[in-house]
Amino acid sequence: MNLALEIVDLQAGYEPGLLIVRGASLQIQKGEIFAILGPNGAGKSSLVKAVAGLVPIASGRNILDGRDITKTPAHQMVFNGLAFVPQTENVFVNLSVAENLELAASVMKANRRERVDPVYAMFPDLHRQRGLPAGQLSGGQRQMLAVARALIARPSLLILDEPSAGLSPKLVDQVFSKLREVRDSGVTVLLVEQNVKAALALADRAAVLVEGKERIVATSAALLADERIAALYLGRHTGRQPRKEPS
C-alpha cells in the first residue's frame, strides 16, 4: 500500500473519559488531497489535532509513512514529516513575514535561504511583503503565510484545519489553488473543511465524519453525485436542499 497516513481505530479527547474522536480509521494515499467533512461537532478538527499531537490520544494508532507517530510530541511532528496549519492564530503576528519563515527554517536546523527561497518562489506576494509584521496581512495572505511556514519543514503530509475559514470565495479559490500546487509538488494534503462544495471541488477523496467516526469514505465525485449522502451529511453546504421526509 502506498499510504501517507493511516489512522487506526483512533480514540481521542481533551478530557479523560470524554472522547470526541471515537474509533476513527482512515487511509490517506500518498500524493492525494483528502478532505474530512461533516457537521459541526463531528470531531473533524479534534481528529486532525490528535494526529498532530495536540489532542491526547486514548487508544488507536497513527502511522505516518510507515512510522508509528501516535506518541510523538507535537513539537517533533515536523521532524517526522508532518506539518500542521491551525484554523486560527496560525502565524506569529508580532514577527515579520520573513521572521515567520526563517524561524521555521532555523528550528529545522536548515539553511535559511535554501528553505525560504523556494517558498518565496511559490508565494511571490509573501516575498514582496517579507518585512511586514504578519499581523498586518489580510486574511488570505495570512493563510498563505501559514501554509508557506508549514512548507518550510518540507513535510510529506500537510494537514490544514479549515483553511477557508473567514475567507471570501475569491480568496478561498486562491488558497485552494495553492494547495493544488502543493499537492503537485509531491506533498500529501489532508484538510478539514466546513465549506463542503469548495472542499469536494479540491479534494481527490473525502470522508464524512459523524460523532467522531467516519461514516463514508469515497471519491469527491462520488460524494457530489450521491444526493442522499449530500442531503444527510452535507446538507445545504452542497447548494442542494435536503429532500423532505414524507410525513
Binding site: 513539537h75 511532528m77 492564530e89 506569529f92 503576528v93 514577527l95 521572521e99
Partner: protein, 305 residues
C-alpha cells in the same frame, strides 16, 4: 534637575534588568512570579559570598580597579552569582512551578508567594539582617556639570559602570532574541505557544531558557543594587513592586518596554525623593503607572491580548 534624572536612570537600570526577567516569565511561562524579586537578593548575596571566597584566596582580587570601588574579585563573583542564580531559578521551576503548571496560573501565583517567603527567610537566616556592602571604599562623585547648569550633575564611577553594563546587557539580550534561533523561539512561544509547538519548537527548552536568562538578569540587577546602594535580605521584596510596575508600564512581554518602564519608574522614584520625600517614592511610581495605563491600557509597548 539633571541630578534627579541621573539618579533616576541609575535606579531605573536595576529595575529594568529585573523587570526584563519578570516580563519574560509573564509572557512565556504565563504567570506573575512573585518570587522573582528574591532572585535579585540571592544574586547579590551569592556574589558577596563568592567575592569573599575569591579574595580570601587571593587578596589582590579585592584591590579596586581604576576609579571603581570594587576589584576583579567582585566581577568574577558576579559571573559565578549569575550562574548560581540561573540554576536557582531553574531549580524553582523544576521542583515547584513545573509540577503545578497544569493547575493553572492562580495556583502558580500563590506558589510563587510561598517560594518568595521561603527564599527571603532562607537568605535572612544565612546572611543575617544587617545591611552589607561589596566594598568599604568610599567613592567621590565626579562633577560632570557645574551647579550653574540645571543644578549640576555628579556621578560616581560605579554608577557609570552600572549604566554602561545595563546598556550592554540589554543590547546583547535584544540581539539574542532577534537573531538567534532560541531567542526567536522564545518570542514565538510568547506570542503563540500552540503554534510554536507545531512549528517544531520544544516548549520545555524555551521554558528552561526563560528561567535561566531571567535568573542571570536578576543576579546582575541584584549585584548592581548592591554596588549602588547596599545589600539587604529584604531587597528583593522591596524591589518587587517597582519591577511589576515597570513590566506593566512597558507592556507585558516587551523587552524594551520593560527597560523603558524601569527607567520611568526609576525617574519617578528619584523625582519623588526630591519633591515629596523618600517615604513616598514607591507611591510616586504607581501614580505614574496609573496615569500611563489610563492612556495606554496595554502599556507603552504592549500588544492587545
Amino acid at each position: 534637575m539633571l541630578q534627579i534624572i541621573a539618579d533616576g536612570l541609575i535606579i531605573g537600570s536595576v529595575i529594568s534588568l529585573g523587570a526584563i526577567g519578570l516580563s519574560m516569565t509573564l509572557s512565556i511561562v504565563r504567570f506573575s512570579n512573585f518570587s522573582h524579586g528574591e532572585l535579585l537578593g540571592w544574586g547579590a548575596y551569592l556574589a558577596l559570598t563568592a567575592a569573599t571566597g575569591l579574595t580570601s584566596m587571593n587578596a589582590g582580587l579585592a584591590a579596586p580597579i581604576g576609579p571603581f570601588s570594587f576589584g576583579w574579585g567582585l566581577l568574577a563573583a558576579g559571573v559565578v552569582a549569575c550562574g548560581l542564580t540561573a540554576l536557582l531559578a531553574l531549580a524553582l521551576d523544576t521542583l515547584l512551578f513545573k509540577r503545578l503548571r497544569k493547575q493553572g496560573a492562580i495556583t502558580l501565583v500563590i506558589a510563587s508567594f510561598g517560594a518568595a517567603l521561603a527564599l527571603r527567610n532562607l537568605l535572612l537566616f544565612w546572611q543575617g539582617g544587617v545591611p552589607q556592602y561589596y566594598s568599604q571604599n568610599l567613592q567621590i562623585a565626579i562633577p560632570l556639570l557645574p551647579r550653574s547648569v540645571w543644578g549640576g550633575l555628579r556621578v560616581t564611577p560605579d554608577q557609570l559602570f552600572v549604566l554602561t553594563l545595563t546598556l550592554v546587557t540589554v543590547t546583547g539580550l535584544h540581539l539574542f532574541l532577534r537573531h538567534s534561533t532560541l531567542g526567536r523561539s522564545m518570542r514565538a512561544t510568547a506570542i503563540n505557544p500552540g503554534l510554536a509547538r507545531v512549528t517544531g519548537i520544544d516548549p520545555e527548552r524555551v521554558l528552561r531558557a526563560t528561567w535561566l536568562i531571567g535568573g542571570v538578569l536578576a543576579a546582575v540587577a541584584g549585584v548592581f543594587a548592591g554596588i549602588t546602594v547596599q545589600l539587604r535580605p529584604t531587597m528583593g521584596v522591596e524591589l518587587l513592586l517597582p519591577l511589576f510596575a515597570a513590566v506593566i508600564l512597558g507592556g507585558i512581554g516587551s523587552i524594551w518596554g520593560a527597560v523603558l518602564g524601569g527607567l520611568i519608574v526609576g525617574l519617578a522614584e528619584s523625582a519623588s525623593v526630591s519633591v515629596v520625600g523618600a517615604e513616598y517614592r514607591a507611591a510616586a511610581a504607581f501614580v505614574v503607572l496609573i496615569a500611563i495605563l489610563m492612556v495606554r491600557p496595554n502599556g507603552l509597548f504592549g500588544e492587545k491580548r
